[in-house]
């Protein structure tokens, strides 16, 4: 019984995975190199702990991590600026795992206006 219990716990811890659209802490998972993506916002999930957009870039869907509410607000974004159908250009660091199609935004453009989420990063 004891062994079975321990095995079950280990198996659960190791085997479970998911494809949730949550975001990551920090920058350790990114490449350290910026890239630019342009596309149309398909899905929006703003709010703590991180905001997440799904953006259609060509024929790919990218998961775009923006800021928490205070960071987006500080950058000058208003409620409704990031919404479905809006064209967006983002500059930030993609996940080191290229197949992930995930990017954490440092700054973004809506039309010609620039919104800087991380002023201290290049």
């Amino acid at each position: 019984m004891k062994k079975a219990l321990l095995t079950a716990i280990l198996a659960l811890g190791v085997a479970l995975s998911s494809d949730a659209v949550l975001a990551h802490h920090g920058w350790s998972w990114t490449t350290g190199q910026n890239m630019v993506l342009s596309g149309v916002i398909k899905k929006v999930r703003l709010g703590n702990p991180h905001g997440v957009l799904e953006v259609q870039v060509g024929n790919e869907i990218w998961t775009i991590e923006v800021g928490q509410p205070w960071r987006n607000e500080r950058a000058g974004l208003k409620d409704g600026d990031l919404s479905e159908g809006v064209e967006i250009r983002v500059i930030g660091e993609p996940a080191a795992d290229k197949s992930d199609r995930r990017l954490k935004v440092e700054r973004l453009f809506l039309g010609d206006r620039e919104y800087i989420l991380y002023p201290d990063r290049d």
Binding site: I9, A20, L22, H25, N48, P49
Partner: protein, 156 residues
């Protein structure tokens, strides 16, 4: 289940925490305080059950550390539920969170079972029983801490 998680996300505390800067930070900080109390108490407690510090009476240590650990767990569960409610549908699908909840449940059941059988100070429990509980408990709570931290860093 999906409907339940959606309803959880629509509750007033979840809606407030989703947009609040300092409110979210406070709940997040309180969650860490709960974990600190829990793990900070459970670690020396279990090491004592495994035979460390034999000169310190076990009952004295248990009288201090069991209530601290229980308080920490209560705080962590309360604040953890609030943090979960902010993104319930997404968190529910995260493997690390599911694993963490299993570990917490097993750790809690193990503690409830041994204290129900032998009381707060575990008088009369065999060495083998204490040892098994201590190892299981250490594995569960340290594992839960690790899984919890991974939620923020290693999704996918």
């Amino acid at each position: 289940m999906e409907a339940f998680f959606a309803a959880l996300e629509a509750t007033a505390p979840a809606q407030y925490l989703r947009v609040s800067r300092w409110g979210y930070a406070a709940v997040s900080g309180a969650h860490i305080l709960g974990i600190a109390l829990l793990v900070g108490a459970i670690l020396p407690l279990n090491l004592r059950l495994l035979g460390l510090w034999p000169s310190i009476p076990r009952a004295n240590l248990l009288r201090v550390l069991v209530p601290i650990a229980a308080t920490g767990l209560a705080l962590a569960v309360l604040t953890g539920s609030l943090l979960f409610s902010v993104r319930a549908q997404e968190y529910a699908a995260v493997g690390y969170l599911q694993a963490k909840l299993v570990l917490v449940l097993v750790g809690l059941l193990s503690a409830l079972m041994i204290h129900r059988a032998y009381g707060l100070t575990l008088e009369g429990a065999s060495q083998a029983r204490l040892r098994f509980h201590a190892l299981l408990s250490l594995g569960c709570w340290l594992g839960a801490l690790a899984c919890g931290r991974l939620i923020a860093f290693a999704i996918d």
